[in-house]
């Protein structure tokens, strides 16, 4: 049981996909102008990563080594399309706001990376946990970045006002440069915390 717990927790903090492997930075910058967008995007990656892990792991006995990349891509794309279609059907506004970035999960290296490095070699349950863990590791970073950008850039959190009425929000955080600065500082902070013994 402890081993399973470790599989789930390692990618959340110790080997966080965004900070440790520098994977999936694109969407971490693009969808973090609002906390709600970040939450949905995080859910999308967590669901697709978990489903991909399970499926790739199940397909281990039948997939030849030479075609494994194609199979992995097909599995990932299928789940991403499923999520995209459901989002369009049940929450059209959100789907419009996220634009192409849900579809771009396909090229998010976290999914292919975990399928290739983990699910291809492990049974179903650990693969599921690894997928969920990687997804959560990605999500919390997104939400933290979004909390900074939304609260300071627009003065709201999940649509509720947090800054006092008179305070002018720092709109720079909403624009691309602000996103890059914030992400750079976050990487710095995390490295500093982690290096401490």
């Amino acid at each position: 049981m402890n081993r399973h717990l470790a599989t789930l927790v390692t990618p959340i903090w110790k080997e966080n996909p965004i900070f440790f492997h520098v994977l999936g930075i694109c969407s971490a910058l693009a969808v973090t102008t609002r906390v709600s967008n970040a939450l949905v995007m995080g859910a999308a990656v967590t669901c697709t990563a978990a489903a991909t892990g399970v499926f790739v792991s199940l397909l281990r006995p039948v997939v030849q080594r030479s075609v494994r990349l194609v199979v992995e891509m097909l599995v990932i794309a299928t789940f991403v399309i499923l999520f995209d279609v459901m989002l369009k059907a049940f929450w059209y506004d959100m789907s419009r706001q996220l634009g192409p970035y849900v579809g771009l999960i396909v090229t998010n290296c976290i999914l292919l990376g975990r399928a290739e490095a983990f699910a291809l070699k492990n049974p179903v349950l650990p693969s599921l946990l690894d997928g969920v863990g990687s997804g959560l590791g990605y999500s919390w970073v997104l939400v933290v970045v979004a909390i900074f950008r939304e609260s300071l850039g627009a003065g709201t959190l999940l649509g509720l006002r947090v800054l006092p009425e008179g305070a002018a929000p720092a709109q720079a955080l909403f624009l691309p440069p602000g996103a890059f600065f914030l992400m750079g500082l976050l990487v710095w902070g995390l490295h500093a915390v982690r290096r401490r013994p």
Binding site: V22, I81, L104, V187
Partner: protein, 211 residues
């Protein structure tokens, strides 16, 4: 403004400067950070991205609008074309087209131009997972571009990415001789310098407008 009315030239310039795929849409970050470490790899990858993005956008446009889009197959007899809905396969088809194109280019280069293959060969496989290329295809569909607009957008985005990665590689060469705080080296300082670069590019805003 109706997206159908914008001239391809405007889209080309906008894709390079005001709506740079990397600096304003954050696409292609992974390879941007990894390959801007050296100038020669940056040039190689930049050229490969420009080439692949131009041609796959053209291919994807034709496939999307002639086969996948709603109503594209309505010439089929018996209303069959209206019953088939292929739109949801767009994502898979785009990726397959990109991967197949990269594969073919690699084979052709290997056969006819070993020198080019030496220079670009390493980067071509990486392009399949470069989100800038898929992003261009998805934006082209969302914004409803016509064929020439889409090609101009694909070419411009490639050039824009090349410009950004070249500038970054040049900057990082200088950065090597400056003292960067510990923990900020590598990814951290690259992101912050990219932010400054994005700020500089915002000065182009207003030159052309495509949205």
């Amino acid at each position: 403004m109706n997206p159908g009315d914008i001239s391809p030239l405007t889209i080309l310039i906008a894709a390079i400067f005001t709506n740079n795929i990397l600096l304003s849409n954050y696409l292609g970050m992974c390879s941007f950070i990894a390959l801007s470490r050296r100038l020669d790899t940056a040039v190689g990858m930049g050229l490969a991205v420009t080439f692949v993005s131009t041609f796959t956008t053209a291919l994807n446009w034709v496939i999307y609008h002639r086969v996948l889009a709603r109503g594209a197959l309505s010439f089929l007899p018996g209303g069959l074309g209206d019953r088939i809905q292929l739109e949801i396969f767009a994502l898979i088809v785009f990726i397959a087209v990109i991967a197949a194109f990269v594969q073919v280019v690699e084979m052709v280069l290997e056969r006819f131009s070993p020198a080019m293959h030496q220079a670009l060969g390493l980067f071509l496989p990486l392009i399949t997972v470069n989100c800038a290329i898929l992003g261009v295809a998805l934006f082209m569909v969302i914004r409803g571009y016509g064929f020439f607009q889409a090609v101009a957008y694909g070419f411009g985005s490639g050039l824009g990415w090349l410009l950004a990665v070249l500038l970054m590689a040049g900057l990082r060469r200088r950065l090597r001789f400056s003292t960067v705080p510990r923990g900020l080296e590598g990814v951290g300082i690259t992101l912050i310098v990219t932010g400054i670069m994005a700020m500089a590019f915002m000065a182009f805003a207003g030159m052309v407008r495509i949205q």
